[in-house]
Symmetry: C2
Subunit: 343 residues, 2 copies
DNA sequence: CAGTTTCGTGACAACGTTGTCTCGCACGGC
DNA sequence: GCCGTGCGAGACAACGTTGTCACGAAACTG
């Protein structure tokens, strides 16, 4: 016979409690809390001190239920992985836009899983977030139309939505990659390898396009490797390329972890001062390696800042046509990209 | 004369809409949605298909208002800065515990600001999150007692709460720092500098204590520098130490960014193969620098995982005494910590 | 076969808030 | 001194859901 004595059912104070303490009706409390006019100064003061004494805060659930604007003052941030530096920097920038507006941020990681993307969108839609900031994982976002109709604002970051017109904030992937490759070409390289992520990912495809543009001559398919995700994959691919016949004299690595894998491989082969390397996306300490790693740097904070700005404009009622904003890249020369071809 | 035709007031379907479509009372819908017994198979099926057709999802605000357990299936994560790798890895681990439980995660950055800490706690408390995972920024957390009374579970991560007994998950800071310094002592070093963050931060203080323990002899105050935050600070401090009289033969850097600043300084002075270095907290690419940077690695993912476990146990009703769980560090030898003293 | 139990279903109140409506009263105009 | 006017304040409904209760029909009991 076990019995757990309920420890006096924890409860936060409500407007009724405040009203009782101040000796007014609970509607008067509502008026004071919401700054509505039509309350005498004396009563308002009594209410305010009762609010302070009880540490009253209005219940957001009840509030959203009744309010006409239906705002929850919350947004959701759906990124590839909150632990990766690009996503994390973007998330922080979004938070910095949200907090001054009194808006809180849900965050979630999609792990390139379209199923997870849809589940999270559904979940946060049901929770009535005011807006959704999404880095799409799946190949089709037309399902988002239902959320837009239900009144949830949506802005895509890093990758555009497919099958639906919404605001997007993207890196100039094609141009950035083209610049990287042209930089190598300008140093005299002709055999430049491309190492990239899965081409089903929009950014990976665009960077490959930029590689082709930058080369300016037909691509040698033996110098192209796709579908690399982890540093280990890249390490293997680079090792195979450089120990095989007709090795490249330069590498263009089109993703963060691929770049790191390539650095590991070059180091192990003792070729880090012989084979040139330019990576897409900057990373911490790239300047302290020897040679420093030349990269095409993205600006995740700018993406987050701009995207949050667009989202809050939509939430505030902007009904203009969908916009695409492009955030430029910067070529950062650190040494590895300036190695001339071996002769 | 401007007029915005309201675009048919976006609205999500409610139980009433589902009920109308299925030809039942809305209470029957509630029963089916919540899996309560006492609904005939035929009706339940009708309701389920109406739910699917309308893509109905119950309104969480209304639900929490009425439910006896008052659960919102949400938690808040209050960390130093979601963009820093330690916090980001911790956040990801927490998400991985929350998602399978159907719980969503708010995240926020405190930036070592006690005011921000209190505001966020207040905000998320008012939003009735089920639990709060907090890396305290302020010197006193006794104010949390009010949240606990109101029924919000709280677990501290990385740093203990002060002025209040709650569950905490901490790194073995003192032991880890002691091991690092002993490692240098074992290599023959006697003049080992300490470079750390503000001693008002619990972890910084403990790491300094570990330094003293590891030295085993009186500390030379000229080799101790506190209050370093950014890499630039550390760079300057290291430069001053090494170009001054009686320079140290080894450095113990007690924080991530400080370690990076120290590496920069050593590199600039050309002493990276002469002065030994052990850092507290691991970082990406530490192994690719030359020499590789020896560190005392923390395990932020384990901290997040364990803390989330404790939090969900509390939310589920665990009323046991507050626990403190310690997560051990690992000394990772990569070269910089194995340099013998210059003779 | 009357009386009782069970079971499926719906009516209704309540959660804590905001929006609308009404009421009482002091005030000003004639 | 009478009546509209305005204004402060409360009563009440409603938001979308869950918990409680009541009802009618079917299924048991003796």
């Amino acid at each position: 016979m076990e019995r757990e004595p309920p420890p006096s059912a924890p409860r936060r104070p409500t407007m009724r409690d405040v009203a009782a303490r101040a000796g007014v009706s609970f509607k008067t409390v509502s008026r004071v809390v919401n700054g509505e006019p039509g309350v005498s100064a004396a009563l308002a003061e009594r209410v305010r001190s009762a609010v302070d004494e009880l540490d009253f805060r209005p219940h957001p659930g009840a509030r959203v239920l009744r309010r006409t604007d239906r705002r929850t003052a919350s947004i959701a941030l759906l990124l590839e992985d909150v632990a990766n530096p690009f996503s994390a920097a973007l998330a922080r920038a979004v938070e910095d836009e949200a907090v001054p507006r009194g808006v809180v941020v849900f965050s979630a990681s999609l792990d390139e899983d379209p199923g997870r993307e849809r589940e999270f969108v559904r979940e946060f839609g049901a929770r009535h977030v005011d807006g959704l900031l999404l880095a799409p994982a799946g190949a089709d976002q037309s399902y988002l139309a239902a959320e837009l109709r239900a009144g949830t604002a949506v802005v895509c970051v890093d990758r555009p939505a497919r099958g639906l017109e919404v605001d997007s904030v993207l890196t100039t992937n094609t141009l950035g990659a083209r610049d990287a490759v042209r930089h190598l070409v300008a140093a005299g390289h002709r055999r430049i390898a491309f190492l990239g992520d899965r081409p089903s990912i929009d950014t990976a495809r665009r960077r490959f396009q930029g590689y082709r543009d930058g080369l300016g001559e037909p691509v040698d398919p033996r110098l192209v490797v796709h579908d690399l995700r982890a540093p280990g994959d890249a390490d293997g691919a680079v090792t195979a390329l450089l120990t095989g016949p007709a090795p490249p004299t330069a590498l263009f690595t089109a993703q963060n972890l691929v770049t790191i894998g390539a650095v590991r491989a070059l180091r192990r082969l003792g070729l880090e001062h012989v084979v040139a390397l330019v990576g897409f996306d900057d990373f911490l300490l790239a300047d302290l390696l020897s040679p420093g790693v030349t990269v095409v740097a993205q600006d995740p904070a700018a993406i987050g800042r701009i995207a949050a700005g667009l989202l809050f404009a939509r939430i505030a009622g902007d009904r203009g046509p969908p916009q695409t904003r492009l955030v430029p890249t910067t070529l950062v020369r650190r040494g590895s990209g300036e190695i001339p071809p071996r002769e």
